[in-house]
Symmetry: C2
Subunit: 476 residues, 2 copies
């Protein structure tokens, strides 16, 4: 058994549009990297859970190109940092079947006996022992060729999930069953009917299977996808970016459930009874915080008078709420959402409208993590930008230059070593230093407390991509 | 008649707690200096209206010590600036009777024949011709010893104003009547009854009387106030601040209506038919903006979906509003109010709670006017502060020093002359300069476009009152 676990890999699906929890989540700050649900982010909780059974370097995070940098920055700045997880970049977002098949293809290239445990990155699980126990059973079954799913014991007629119907037990694998049927997200009436029958379980979106078996099923049921994967391997790394997306998009964009699991006769099911949450919308956030006697949840700097059953959430600013009922107020530095709870499903619609206008508020926060620390955008004009930058003790930014902007740094706290065109300076609180455009420069926190500084950029072009990197501690 | 107008003075009452339109208004940014109602602020509109009949240096603004600087800055930065208006500082806020009696006392000291026209600073009047015409009639009546009030033709059973009952005509003064009765703010039933009778008019809170006659009535009906005014005059300017407040507070805090007008038999009334608004609460703001088909008013960067009859107002940030009904969302850089329209009267209550905690959000905005330009607070920590400062072409700040903080200035735009301990420098966009603590310094915009700069303050104490001024163009 322990030998078999050597071949187990964790695959964490970490795409996500960041729309349903907007404005807390953004395209580049999806739910799984937020700190809303306990001390760690959900992706970090997922990794911590898996490393109880799987070494960190056997964990692969599947994500898109845009999100990759953000997720890696997030996992490097968490404490302790996740330095050894690996990343698989989807050439395009095409739902879960292509993403998982790509992971299987890549991991099988490294280990032909690979068994994959596939997990969403945004589940909230307070007690993971049932899952860890089930993982061992699932590995055994996967070794014998089963595609194993996990069914969660429902406690309410939920309409937001699909259901699985438990079939006959597998005689060779105690606690593992046939999956008799996949049932799509039901309406309320149907959901009430389903949970009358104890064989009906929530479809958790978690899977365990051998990479080889999965790819056999992909070849059978999704031949275009199998073909695309084969072609991807033939491109040199130079052509890869150019062709991979095109190739990948020839295969249907389809979920693993629809594409494979509902069709295959090798699907097994392990029932799980486990405290579990899919924080799929803003009202669900309320469950993570205490309610007052009127059913309100207030997080942050809130002053309320006569509110009922409302969710009041502020990042930093003061919110005064008077006479609200069944309402959500979600305040962030650059955007405020005020929404009736029963219209929570329309948040995605509004974010889609926002995206159409190219609004920054749909894409990112004014606050960003970097492997060396973080920055907050204080003000942005057409020819200038002001940031508050924090650098962790012992960390340094890449050696870099900017073609279009110069930078003034004024230190508020700490001690930094600043190198400009080869010349070193020690800069301390209340000192400033000027970096002309086109100068090679590097900033290092050589002290024991965080360096905090105000950066004032002046220039005709202020995009984050006006950066030429020379050497970088983070391989960027 | 024209000779008589030489003795006419405008008295503009400009106290106000800045609570009813919070968070748009603040203690130091009351309604009358906001730019919400047309291009000019309401106090500026009031001054412009009066200067059609009264020279600017005959206009006195009565306000409190804290608000004085803000109002003067406001009137100096408006274009063209009101440089010649005079200011009367109430030693304490004690309602309108003490404020108006103090103004009468001071102005009569300068001109024993003074006739005062007393006006609130926050009325919105689109056509002031009826008022200007009435002013001449009122001056005649005041000259004959009448205390003249103005009654406005009601167009609805308003419960937010008091009412006046028109009495017999004054034979000597066509268009002027006896005031038969003062009626307190009625309930809705009573208001409906009142407006059935065309003799009932809204009490406008505007008055015209001779300073001498008013003070005779003060002596008769509010003897403690008359005594206090007498004593104020005996203090030397050194003692004034110490004793005036104490003295002033011995007299009752009472409105002119209750204290004098309801009791005096010298009260006259001029009926006025004039488009007039008292913007007494946030819902009234909606009347200044166009409504969409669902009755919503949206001002600023707003994205709404399925809202009805709501007021959505944003200063700068994005507000997304979904499924709101009869709601107000008022967003400012440091505070957001979300309030059901029918609870608008509770805004003051919440602001009172806020004041108890000493919260800055009840006192001032992050944006401040100065006679030389303006500043915006970008970030504030315990030992540092970042501001964006704008200096009007040709203007300069006072020569000053700070005991506790040093300042870094990084120019974003324009050309400034900076003098530090007697040494002059020209500083341009993308240059920076450092002002150590205790250095005499002065900043002047010597160019033709606004100077914009980022100021980074470092220090142990960052209060605005850590300033020693040497010379100042604005007499501060």
């Amino acid at each position: 058994m322990s030998q078999r676990l050597d071949h187990v890999y964790g695959v964490i699906l970490s795409g996500g549009a960041g729309t349903r929890l907007w404005p807390l989540s953004r395209e580049l700050s999806p739910k799984q990297i937020l700190h809303l649900f306990g001390t760690d982010s959900l992706i970090r909780q997922t990794i911590t859970r898996l490393t109880k059974r799987i070494p960190e370097d056997h964990i692969f995070i599947v994500t898109g190109e845009r999100l990759f940098e953000e997720i890696r920055n997030h996992l490097l700045t968490e404490f302790p940092p996740c330095k050894n997880v690996q990343y698989i970049l989807e050439p395009a977002a095409r739902n879960t079947a292509p993403a998982i098949a790509l992971a299987a293809w890549i991991i099988m290239g490294k280990d032909p006996e690979a068994i994959l445990g596939v997990f969403p990155s945004d589940h909230y699980i307070t007690d993971d022992q049932p899952l860890l126990d089930a993982l061992e059973k699932a590995t055994e079954a996967a070794h014998d060729g089963y595609l194993v799913t996990f069914g969660l014991q429902p406690d309410r007629p939920e309409t937001g999930f699909g259901y699985l119907q438990q079939g006959e037990p597998l005689s060779q694998h105690p606690g593992v069953f046939r999956a008799a049927r996949f049932i799509e997200k039901p309406d309320l009436e149907k959901a009430k009917e389903l949970i009358q029958d104890p064989r009906h379980l929530w479809n958790s979106g978690m899977f365990v299977f051998s990479a080889r078996v999965l790819l056999e099923e992909v070849e059978r049921y999704l031949p275009e996808l199998h073909q695309a994967l084969g072609k991807l391997a033939t491109y040199s790394s130079e052509d890869y970016e150019r062709f991979a997306q095109q190739e990948f998009c020839r295969a249907p964009a389809i979920s693993l459930d629809y594409g494979i699991m509902e069709r295959s006769d090798r699907v097994a099911l392990i029932p799980l009874s486990m405290p579990w949450k899919d924080v799929g919308s803003l009202p669900a956030l309320a469950e993570f915080h205490p309610k007052d006697a009127q059913g309100n949840v207030a997080v942050g700097h809130i002053l309320q008078e006569g509110c009922q059953n409302s969710l009041l959430y502020s990042d930093s600013r003061l919110i005064a709420a008077i006479g609200l009922e069944d309402l959500m107020v979600i305040d962030t530095p650059d955007a405020t959402l005020v929404c009736s709870k029963e219209r929570a499903q329309d948040v995605s619609k509004v974010v889609a409208r926002l995206k159409e206008t190219g609004a920054q508020e749909s894409v990112s926060h004014r606050y960003s993590h970097r492997p060396w620390g973080s920055f907050l955008e204080l003000e942005k004009g057409s020819t200038y930008q002001v940031k508050h930058i924090e650098v962790t003790p012992g960390k340094r930014l890449s050696e870099q230059l900017h073609r279009h902007r110069s930078e003034h740094w004024i230190l508020l706290q700490g001690t930094a070593k600043v190198t400009i065109d080869g010349k070193e300076d020690i800069v301390q609180a209340n000192q400033s230093i000027f970096i002309p455009a086109n100068a090679h420069h590097r900033l290092e926190n050589v002290g024991k407390i965080p360096v905090r500084l105000i950066e004032v950029q002046n220039g005709e072009y202020l995009g984050e991509d006006d950066i030429v990197r020379f050497t970088d501690d983070y391989g960027r």
